[in-house]
């Protein structure tokens, strides 16, 4: 099982605990994540600047993976959504021809539309299969309760991702976490956006969104929020104090990546799961 590992820009800079835990979890499961030095920006930020440049960026990455004969596994929901969307648009032959014409100038062979893109959690759910992970659980987390935040781009837009999950009532990451023995709660604003994409353009609105979910999950008394995207983690963990200050509230909710939780239940060490980088310490939970 060899896959092109699409890291994106946020994870290797702002989410080292995610990268460390994803790499080590994959290793323990026998999944080979291959680093591709040629990968560049997925095109997400560029979409607000130049839509054609954005699709070129995405297509270039797809073509590079295709040339190497590998499907893509991503860890950022934004990257996987943008790459999947590009794949959807590039089914249009005219557009693909036009894009391929430009790819040549970038020294990349043509993109033929064959590469598959999946978020790591989706891959575990759909391809690796929860049952195979279950066999590897050595330290069940039966006493713990989590609130999952999926991240909008994890399963939306559905025309690009397909219907592997239900945007109105998402369940795939809940299922993955449940096999560790931990419980997951249902909560009213489970589908609320983290708001990070507008932090730079409208901080007030962005923080209001983040505060609503932090407040709801804190009220539920969960041990932690579980996320699957570096941007969501920045919104809920890195910004947590600031969000509290700006909205007149006080939060102390640990935020973990799904890779850290599954890894814990498989007996991986705190070091191998990057827990030293958790800003809101999850010591109670680790005991």
């Amino acid at each position: 099982m060899r896959y092109a590992f699409y890291l994106g820009c946020a994870t290797p800079v702002k989410a080292l605990k995610y990268e460390i835990s994803a790499r080590n979890l994959a290793r323990s499961l026998g999944i080979e994540l291959i680093d591709i030095p040629e990968f560049g920006c997925c095109g997400f930020p560029v979409k607000s600047m130049d839509s054609f440049a954005a699709i070129l960026m995405a297509a270039r990455n797809l073509a590079i993976a295709e040339e190497k004969g590998m499907d893509i596994i991503g860890v950022c929901t934004g990257c996987t959504a943008i790459l999947s969307e590009a794949k959807e648009y590039l089914e249009d032959e005219k557009l693909r021809e036009k894009v391929n014409g430009k790819l040549k100038a970038l020294g990349v062979k043509e993109y033929r539309g064959r590469v598959k893109i999946k978020h790591f959690a989706r891959f575990l759910y759909e391809d690796y299969k929860p049952d195979r992970i279950r066999d590897k659980i050595t330290t069940p987390l039966a006493s713990l309760e989590f609130g999952i935040h999926y991240g909008c781009h994890y399963m939306k837009p559905t025309p690009a991702h397909g219907q592997f999950d239900d945007p109105a009532n998402p369940f795939t990451i809940d299922d993955l976490i449940n096999i560790t023995g931990a419980k997951t709660v249902n909560y009213p604003n489970k589908n609320l956006c983290c708001g990070l994409t507008i932090m730079g353009t409208d901080e007030d609105l962005s923080f209001k969104l983040a505060a609503e979910k932090l407040e709801c999950l804190s009220g539920k008394g969960v041990d932690a929020m579980v996320v699957a995207c570096p941007s969501c983690c920045i919104a809920y963990e890195n910004n947590q104090k600031l969000v509290g200050k700006k909205t007149g509230k006080e939060f102390s909710l640990p935020v973990l990546y799904f890779t850290q939780v599954i890894g814990l239940a498989m007996g991986l060490s705190e070091k191998d799961l990057g827990f030293e980088f958790n800003r809101i310490k999850a010591d109670d939970l680790l005991q």
Binding site: L16, I20, G40, V46, D50, I55, C152, L192, G200, L209
Partner: protein, 146 residues
């Protein structure tokens, strides 16, 4: 190029039911942001006006509206594309300019700190940094869409 998104026929499918706005959390928190109104203006061809509307940049791109629309209008995509036109015409928030300059300089939105990565036991990242700049340049040689 993306043309079907901004296709007038497709935009005509919007019958202004407002379901996009009523499910939008940004609209709930800030009533001045109404995706169905923006779509109406775009559909009417009032492009110049739309490009100058600040709230264009309030959309989080959560795709909730696109999933809800009974007519299958790709609302999020249309707003996103419209932003790119706003960008080209200079109606842009400062952040977008900073982001573009960072991308042009380093090829990524967040420059890598390989020393920190090494300390954490992670491999160095050595991607070519001028790819983004090259792509911006190549993309310029294209016809106008809107």
């Amino acid at each position: 190029m993306y043309s079907y998104l901004l296709d007038k026929e497709k935009l005509k499918c919007c019958y202004q039911c407002g379901k996009c706005s009523s499910g939008c959390d940004i609209n709930r928190l800030d009533g001045s942001f109404q995706p169905h109104r923006l779509l109406h203006l775009i559909g009417m061809g009032a492009t110049d006006k739309v490009l100058k509307i600040d709230s264009l940049w309030k959309c989080t791109t959560c795709f909730t509206c696109s999933e809800r629309c009974p007519q299958g209008v790709k609302i999020t995509e249309i707003l996103w594309l419209t932003r790119a036109f706003a960008f080209k015409s200079g109606c842009i928030p400062e952040l977008a300019v900073i982001q573009r300059d960072t991308l042009l300089k380093s090829g990524r939105l967040m420059p890598v700190d390989n020393k920190k990565r090494e300390k954490a036991g992670l491999p160095a990242i050595t991607e070519e940094s001028d790819v983004a700049a090259q792509i911006f340049k190549i993309a310029e040689e294209k016809e106008q869409i809107l």
